[in-house]
């Protein structure tokens, strides 16, 4: 499943970037990555991987059957510039779907790295036989990710009004998007 990695992409400024699965050896660079995410964005992290202890525990328990974490690494210096996680379930009732969560370093946005990583997730999800991929984005915070998902054939499934509370006490909507993965000839 992961044997095709690393996968190379080239950003529009000419940087080579490798997409590859996270390993336990990435702890230092991942700590750096999360520490460089602005505080108002860290607030929205659900797994709090910006906490070194939680990140360390996450890496210690890496299990690609449960979560496939992919990072984008700038090839010139090994800097982690984005990460995406494909969350799978062992429960048969939802074993056909997965959820993705993505974070791109603020200095590397607008380079389409997020789009490539979402596409990579879609292809990986197809290759492991999943039927549907879900993504949840925070309105007004992750609008560029919503745009990227729409271009990759995700569709809007629904909106949870005021589901998210920001660090200043304001409320934001959660946008739920999905993408069908198993199109047949009749769908074309």
């Amino acid at each position: 499943m992961l044997k095709d990695y690393p996968k190379a992409i080239v950003t529009k400024d000419g940087d080579s970037v490798l997409l590859r699965p996270v390993t336990a050896q990435d702890e230092q660079e991942l700590n750096k990555f999360f520490s460089e995410i602005p505080d108002d964005e860290q607030w929205f992290l659900r797994e709090k991987l910006d906490d070194p202890h939680i990140l360390s525990e996450f890496l210690r328990k890496l299990d690609y059957k449960r979560i496939i974490p992919i990072i984008a690494v700038r090839e010139t210096d090994g800097k982690i510039i984005a990460n995406v996680r494909l969350h799978l379930s062992s429960a048969p009732c939802i074993g056909h779907v997965a959820h993705l969560r993505i974070m791109v370093h603020p200095d590397f946005r607008s380079l389409k790295i997020g789009s490539w990583m979402i596409l990579d997730c879609v292809k990986t999800a197809m290759d492991i036989g999943l039927e549907k991929l879900f993504a949840e984005f925070i309105s007004g915070v992750e609008d560029s990710a919503i745009g990227a998902a729409l271009k990759l054939d995700f569709r809007h499934e629904g909106t949870l009004k005021d589901y998210i509370r920001d660090s200043k006490g304001g409320y934001r909507d959660l946008i739920i998007m999905s993408r069908d993965l198993q199109t047949r000839w009749s769908d074309f």
Binding site: K3, D4, P6, K7, A8, I9, V10, K12, G14, D15, S16, L18, E75, T76, D77, G78, W116, L119, D120, V122, K123, M126, D127, G129, L152, D153, L181, Q182, T183, R184, W185, F188
Partner: protein, 231 residues
Amino acid sequence: MKASLITNSDLVGRTEIAETNCGPIAICGTCRPALFRNLQVDQGLGHFSHYSSIIQRLEDFETIALLPGGRVTLGIEDPNIIVGYCVGSYPDSTDRWAALGDLMYELAAVEVSRNYRGCKLGEKLLGTTMNDDFFEDKIAYMCGYSWHWDLEGKGMSAAQYRSMMKHLYGKFGFREVYTNEPNITLRAENIMMIRVGLRVTPEDQMKFRHLRFGMKPIADKKPTIPAAANT
């Protein structure tokens, strides 16, 4: 089997008889143009309601075999029926990949007649085509477009067909790479796979990587990881 056809070195580069569960099939590599006029195309290679074979006419095989570097491998059933094929050539001059000259080689199509599927013929056709030192100087590539796939005939979704392609080509050292080439990016199921020959230099691999994203290589951006491992 018309032995006079498939063992004639003026007509066929090499032939092996594959014992398949569809019966014996002659796998004929490097077929010469003069061979095709003696053959017929099986009816399982043709027009169907939701699918058309990429190659249906003998003249098309001849055209490919006459191209510089053109290669045609055929699966032939007794006495002279083409039941599958694998064709390749250098990229067309209008293709993006032609910018790297004869470094690039396209495996343009592998197809098996609807009447002979499940016999592992595709694997034998591709294996015979790739079994050549010629490819160690090349980046061989294939572009799989989901709108060309016989999803109805295979009873598969596009994602399942894509996985089948990955599995088939993966047996011969191909792996998926990303590109912003518009036809590939049109659908997530589409796939570009490459096999990098043993004698292809890291510099050429890096040129190819940049070309995949529509760019010329930038000389002062040296990778810290050998490019050979990460084409």
